[in-house]
C-alpha cells in the first residue's frame, strides 16, 4: 500500500500583515504626476488611511506563506459533500481574464460590447440545454442569491395572481440557505416528514399542501445523495393547488445528461456554477447562481437580461413583471465566462462527468460499507452519507475522524449536515478523482477506523501535522476579536 500523502512538510511562521509594517515603506509604483495638483477643500480631506506600510517583497512573502497553510482542490482530494469541489481547469482562468473582458466597462454601449453579450447569450443557451428549461437570468451572484431570486419570483407570481401566500414546504433535507431565502420573502417554512428511505413522499405533501402555501423547495438529489423519485407527482400536487416548485440545483452534478428538469415539474432552479460547472470557489466565493425557469415564471426573471435581436445582442430592462435587479451590473461575468469555457470544453461529455461522479460516489460507498455506519442504504447518486455510530463507542466522533483525515493528507468530508443524520460524514468525491486517488482516500478512512478501534487517542488528538490544531471556537465567539491594530 502506498503511504498516505499527509506529511509534516514546511510550516512557516508568519505574523499578521502589519507586523511587517514600517513607516516609510510603499509597495506600489505611483503613476507620474503629469497634471497639476489640485488640493481639495481642507474641510473635506481626512487623515491618511490607517493602513500598513509595506514593500512589494513584504506583500509577496506574506501572501505566499499564507497560501501554504491552505488546502485546495489542486492540493488533493476534497470530498466535500453537497459542495461539489471538482477540478478547476486552468484554461478557464486564462480565458476569463482576457484583456478584452477584464478591461470592459459594464456600461459600455452595446455595439462595443457585442462579444461579452454574446458570451452571456451562449452560456444561457448551454444552461437551457443542460436543464431543458425555458428561460434564464444570469444575474444572481451565488447559489443563495439564486435561491433568493427564485423565492422573489414565486412571491411576485402569487402577487400577480392577486393573492399572496404565506407558507412554503421545506423538507429537512433542504440546504440551510433554503429556509433563510424563503424567510426573506416572509414565508413560514412548513416541515414534512421523510419516508424511512430518506425521501419525500406524495402522501406527506398532500397532507400539508393548501391554498395558503406558495410552493415547495426541493433539493434533488437531496442532501442524503438520494434521488427524490416522486418529484413529478409531488410537483403535480403542488401545482394543482396553485403552488410552484423551487429546485435547488446545488446537486446538478448528479443529473447532467440524465434528468430533464422541466419534466420533474420544477418551475425555477438555480445553478451553482462554482459547483457543477467547475468555476473555483476561492475560499468563499465569488460564485454565480443563474436561475433557469419554466415559461410561467419567465416574465418575473431579474433584469437586465441579454437578448438577441437579429444579429445584435443587447440587455433588456423593461420587462414590467420582473422582480427587478439583484446585482450592481449584469452578474458575475468573469465567473460566468469560466462556466462557458467549461461547458464548451466538455459539451456532450458533460454526461460523462455526471456518470463518473456517480460511479465514484458509489465506489467509495461500497468500499467503506462495513467500516462506517450507513444510516440510509438506499441507492446513492453523486454523494453518500455515513456516520460515526460504529466509532462512537470508543469515544471517537465525526469531528475526530475529520481531523485525523487531515493528518493523512485529505480534506475531510462535510460534517455539519444533513441535519437528519447524527454525526454525518457526507462524502462527494466528484468525477475529478481517479481510481487511485479514491483508493488512497478509502485506505485513509480505513486507517482511521482501525485507529478508532485500537488507538482512539491518536484520532482524538488529531490533527498533529497542521500549523494549528483544534482552535478554540467557543472562546472565539465569547471574546470576539474581529480585527487587529495597525500601528501608525
Amino acid at each position: 500500500m502506498a503511504p498516505h500523502p499527509g506529511t509534516q512538510g514546511l510550516a512557516f511562521r508568519e505574523g499578521l500583515l502589519w507586523e511587517r509594517s514600517k513607516k516609510g515603506r510603499i509597495g506600489i509604483s505611483l503613476p507620474e504626476q503629469d497634471v497639476p495638483r489640485v488640493e481639495l477643500d481642507e474641510g473635506l480631506v481626512g487623515e491618511k488611511p490607517a493602513l500598513p506600510e509595506l514593500s512589494e517583497v513584504d506583500v509577496t512573502r506574506h501572501y505566499t506563506k499564507l497560501s501554504t497553510w491552505n488546502f485546495g482542490v489542486d492540493t488533493g482530494t476534497y470530498p466535500l459533500g453537497s459542495c461539489t469541489m471538482k477540478y478547476n481547469p486552468k484554461i478557464n482562468e486564462h480565458l476569463a481574464g482576457l484583456p478584452g473582458f477584464a478591461n470592459l466597462h459594464p456600461l459600455t454601449p452595446y455595439a462595443y460590447a457585442q462579444g461579452a453579450l454574446k458570451l452571456m447569450y451562449e452560456l444561457e443557451r448551454d444552461l437551457l440545454e443542460i436543464t431543458k428549461m425555458h428561460a434564464v437570468s444570469l444575474q444572481p451572484a451565488a447559489g443563495a442569491h439564486g435561491e433568493l431570486a427564485g423565492m422573489l419570483m414565486i412571491h411576485a407570481y402569487h402577487a400577480h395572481k392577486g393573492k399572496q401566500r404565506h407558507k412554503i414546504i421545506m423538507p429537512s433535507t433542504a440546504h440551510g440557505t433554503n429556509p433563510a431565502s424563503a424567510a426573506l420573502c416572509g414565508y413560514t417554512p412548513v416541515p414534512v416528514q421523510l419516508s424511512p428511505d430518506g425521501i419525500v413522499t406524495p402522501e406527506a405533501i398532500r397532507e400539508v399542501m393548501d391554498e395558503d402555501t406558495a410552493g415547495i423547495m426541493v433539493t434533488n438529489p437531496n442532501t442524503l445523495g438520494i434521488f427524490e423519485k416522486h418529484i413529478a407527482e409531488i410537483a403535480q400536487i403542488v401545482h394543482e393547488k396553485g403552488g410552484l416548485v423551487y429546485g435547488d440545483g446545488a446537486n446538478l452534478n448528479a443529473l447532467m445528461g440524465y434528468a430533464d428538469i422541466e419534466k420533474m415539474g420544477i418551475d425555477v432552479l438555480h445553478i451553482n456554477v462554482h459547483k457543477t460547472l467547475a468555476t473555483p470557489h476561492g475560499g468563499g466565493g465569488p460564485g454565480a447562481g443563474p436561475v433557469v425557469v419554466r415559461d410561467v415564471l419567465e416574465p418575473f426573471l431579474p433584469v437586465p437580461r441579454v437578448m438577441k435581436k437579429r444579429e445584435r445582442y443587447e440587455l433588456v430592462w423593461d420587462t414590467p413583471l420582473s422582480i427587478g435587479r439583484l446585482h450592481s451590473f449584469c452578474g458575475n461575468f468573469a465567473t460566468l465566462a469560466r462556466a462557458l469555457a467549461y461547458t464548451r470544453s466538455l459539451g456532450r461529455h458533460l454526461k460523462d462527468v455526471t456518470e463518473l461522479a456517480v460511479l465514484n460516489a458509489n465506489y467509495v460507498k461500497s468500499r467503506l460499507k462495513g467500516l462506517y455506519n450507513l444510516p440510509f442504504p438506499q441507492p446513492s447518486m453523486h454523494e453518500c452519507v455515513f456516520n460515526d455510530a460504529a466509532q462512537h463507542k470508543q469515544g471517537v466522533t465525526t469531528l475526530d475522524i475529520a481531523k485525523r483525515l487531515i493528518d493523512l493528507g485529505y480534506h475531510p468530508p462535510t460534517i455539519y449536515f444533513p441535519l437528519v443524520v447524527e454525526g454525518a460524514l457526507m462524502i462527494e468525491p466528484t468525477e475529478s478523482e481517479s481510481k487511485a486517488d479514491l483508493d488512497g482516500f478509502v485506505e485513509a478512512m480505513k486507517t482511521v477506523a482501525e485507529e478508532a478501534a485500537t488507538n482512539p487517542d491518536v484520532v482524538k488528538n488529531a490533527p498533529q501535522n497542521t500549523k494549528v490544531s483544534r482552535p478554540d471556537e467557543v472562546q472565539a465567539a465569547r471574546h470576539l476579536i474581529l480585527r487587529g491594530e495597525i500601528p501608525q
Binding site: 505611483l30 503613476p31 497634471v35 480631506v45 491618511k48 490607517a50 493602513l51 500598513p52 509595506l54 505566499t64 491552505n70 482542490v73 484554461i91 482576457l98 477584464a102 466597462h105 459594464p106 459600455t108 454601449p109 462595443y112 460590447a113 454574446k118 440545454e129 451572484a141 443563495a144 440551510g176 443529473l255 447532467m256 430533464d260 419534466k263 470557489h281 475560499g283 468563499g284 466565493g285 465569488p286 427587478g324 439583484l326 446585482h327 450592481s328 449584469c330 465566462a337 456532450r348 458533460l350 463518473l356 458509489n362 441507492p379 480534506h411 462535510t414 449536515f417 481517479s434 490533527p463 500549523k467 494549528v468 490544531s469 482552535p471 471556537e473 465567539a477 470576539l480 476579536i481 474581529l482
Partner: protein
C-alpha cells in the same frame, strides 16, 4: 462513456474494476433511481471544443479593448499592480472552499481577518465582515440590517445613491412590509433630508453620490440621529476614502459599498466585492461571514469562522440573512491592494484621481460643457453637454473614446434637470497624453461638424 477527456482520469479498466466492486453491470444501472418519466429524451447538444479552438472562440468574443472610458458610475479604471493577480492566482487560495476546517484553511482565514481589519480601518468603523457580493446587494443587506437593529418600518434613501443600488434595494424590500422613502436632490446636487419621516430605521446616503458630489455626512448623521435612526453610508468608489474624511469619523453607524477599485478589473461588471462595516454593538445583526481570532489547543494564535449562530447552516429561517458564498477571493485581492498601496500610496493615488478629474473637467469646460453643480468632487462629476454632443459622442466612440455616460439612460434621471447631462470620470489610469488626445479629437470633430 465515450472517448477520453483531459479532465477525467478513468480508463476503461478502472471503470470495469469499480463496477465490479459496486456489483453492477454498467454505469447506467447506477441511475435506476431516476424514473423514466423525468429522464431527458436526447443527448446534450453542445459540441465539445479542443482547448485550441476554445481559445480562438473566446479571443474572438473578447476582441480588442481599445476603448478608453471616461466613465465610472460604479466601476472605475484603476491600475492593478502585477504581483496582485499573480499572488491571488495561487491555487491554494483559488481552489479552496469556505474555510470550515480551520486547521487547513489558516491562509484564507488570516487573510480575511486582515481584510476585515483594513476595511474597518479604511472606513473608520469598529468592525467589518468577510465581504458581500457587491455594492448593490451590500446596500440592500445594510438596509435590512438597520431594520433588524431599529425595528422601525421605513428606510429613508437618498435618490442620489447609484441607481442600480437603489433598484436592488427595492427588489430586496418589495416582498417585505418595509417601506423605502426616497429623498430628492437639492439644487447643489446633495441630498435633501427635509422629507425624512419620523419612523425610519435608517437614512441611507451615498458619498461621493452618483453625480460625484461629496455629501456632508456630518449633517446626514445629525439628520438621522435626530430621528433616532441609523446613518448608513453607501459608496461605489472605495478609492475616495484615500482622500476624503472617512464615514466613521462623520458619525456613520453602518457603511456599505463596493471595493472593486482595489485590484479587481471591470470584467463587464462582475464579480466585485461588497464591503460592509458597522459599530461593534451591531455585530450580532451583521449578515455574512466573520473571522475571529482565538488560540488553538497548544496556545498558538489561530483564526476561525465565528458567530455562526447568525448563519443559515445553524439557524435556517431565523438566520440574519441567506448569504453563504460571498466574494472571499476578491476580498483577498482587495486586502492585497490595500496593503500594497498602504497609508501613503492610497493617499497619493486618491489625490491623483482628483487631479486627473479636475484636468478633465477643465478641458471639457473649454470645449463648451457646463458643470451641473459648482461643488467639490472626487474623481467623478456631471456636466451638461453643448448642443449636438450626442452625435459627437457616437463619433468619439468610433475613435476609441467612451466620452461620458448619458444620465437619462437611467430611469431615475429621466427628468428635465438632467437633459443632455453626462457623467464623467478620470482616474490615475488616464494619463495626460490620453486626456489631451481626447480633447484634440473632440476639437477636430467639432470643427468638422
Amino acid at each position: 462513456m465515450t472517448s477520453a477527456m483531459r479532465y477525467l482520469s478513468h480508463t476503461p479498466d478502472d471503470i470495469r474494476e469499480m463496477l465490479e466492486v459496486i456489483g453492477v453491470k454498467s454505469i447506467e444501472k447506477l441511475f435506476d433511481s431516476i424514473p423514466l418519466d423525468v429522464r431527458r429524451d436526447s443527448e446534450i447538444d453542445i459540441e465539445p471544443r479542443s482547448e485550441w479552438r476554445l481559445s480562438r472562440e473566446f479571443e474572438e468574443m473578447a476582441g480588442a479593448s481599445n476603448l478608453v472610458a471616461f466613465v465610472g458610475a460604479g466601476s472605475y479604471a484603476h491600475y492593478v499592480p502585477a504581483h496582485i493577480p499573480y499572488l491571488a492566482s495561487r491555487s491554494e487560495f483559488l481552489t479552496a472552499y469556505t474555510p470550515y476546517q480551520p486547521e487547513i484553511s489558516q491562509g484564507t482565514l488570516q487573510a480575511i481577518f486582515e481584510f476585515q481589519t483594513m476595511t474597518a480601518s479604511l472606513l473608520g468603523m469598529e468592525i467589518a465582515n468577510a465581504s458581500m457580493y457587491d455594492g448593490a446587494s451590500s446596500l440592500a443587506e445594510a438596509a435590512l440590517m438597520a431594520i433588524r437593529v431599529k425595528k422601525k418600518p421605513k428606510i429613508a434613501v437618498s435618490r442620489l445613491n447609484h441607481p442600480h443600488y437603489l433598484q436592488a434595494l427595492r427588489t430586496y424590500l418589495r416582498p417585505t412590509a418595509f417601506e423605502v422613502v426616497e429623498l430628492e436632490a437639492r439644487v447643489d446636487g446633495t441630498t435633501d433630508y427635509a422629507a425624512m419621516p419620523d419612523d425610519v430605521s435608517a437614512l441611507v446616503v451615498q458619498s461621493p453620490n452618483f453625480l460625484g458630489v461629496i455629501e456632508d455626512l456630518k449633517a446626514a448623521a445629525e439628520a438621522a440621529h435626530s430621528k433616532s435612526a441609523l446613518l448608513v453610508v453607501s459608496f461605489a468608489e472605495a478609492m475616495s476614502w484615500g482622500l476624503l474624511k472617512n464615514p466613521g469619523s462623520q458619525g456613520a453607524d453602518i457603511v456599505s459599498g463596493e471595493g472593486k477599485s482595489f485590484g479587481i478589473p471591470h470584467s463587464f461588471g462582475g464579480p466585485g466585492v461588497g464591503m460592509l462595516a458597522c459599530k461593534k454593538d451591531f455585530v450580532r445583526a451583521i449578515p455574512g461571514r466573520l473571522v475571529g481570532e482565538t488560540v488553538d489547543k497548544n496556545g498558538e494564535r489561530a483564526f476561525v469562522l465565528t458567530l455562526s449562530a447568525r448563519e443559515q447552516h445553524i439557524r435556517r429561517e431565523k438566520a440574519v440573512s441567506n448569504i453563504c458564498s460571498n466574494s472571499g477571493h476578491n476580498a483577498l485581492i482587495a486586502a492585497m491592494y490595500m496593503s500594497t498601496a498602504g497609508r501613503e500610496g492610497l493617499r497619493e493615488i486618491a489625490q491623483l484621481n482628483h487631479d486627473k478629474a479636475v484636468y478633465l473637467k477643465t478641458g471639457l469646460e473649454k470645449v463648451g460643457f457646463k458643470p451641473l453643480f459648482d461643488v467639490p468632487f472626487f474623481n467623478e462629476f456631471a456636466m451638461t453637454a453643448p448642443a449636438g454632443f450626442e452625435k459627437r459622442h457616437e463619433a468619439l466612440l468610433e475613435r476609441g473614446f467612451f466620452a461620458g455616460l448619458k444620465l437619462d439612460l437611467f430611469p431615475e434621471y429621466q427628468d428635465p434637470r438632467y437633459k443632455d447631462a453626462y457623467l464623467f470620470c478620470a482616474t490615475e489610469a488616464h494619463t495626460r497624453d490620453i486626456l489631451d488626445a481626447f480633447f484634440a479629437t473632440f476639437t477636430i470633430l467639432k470643427e468638422v461638424a
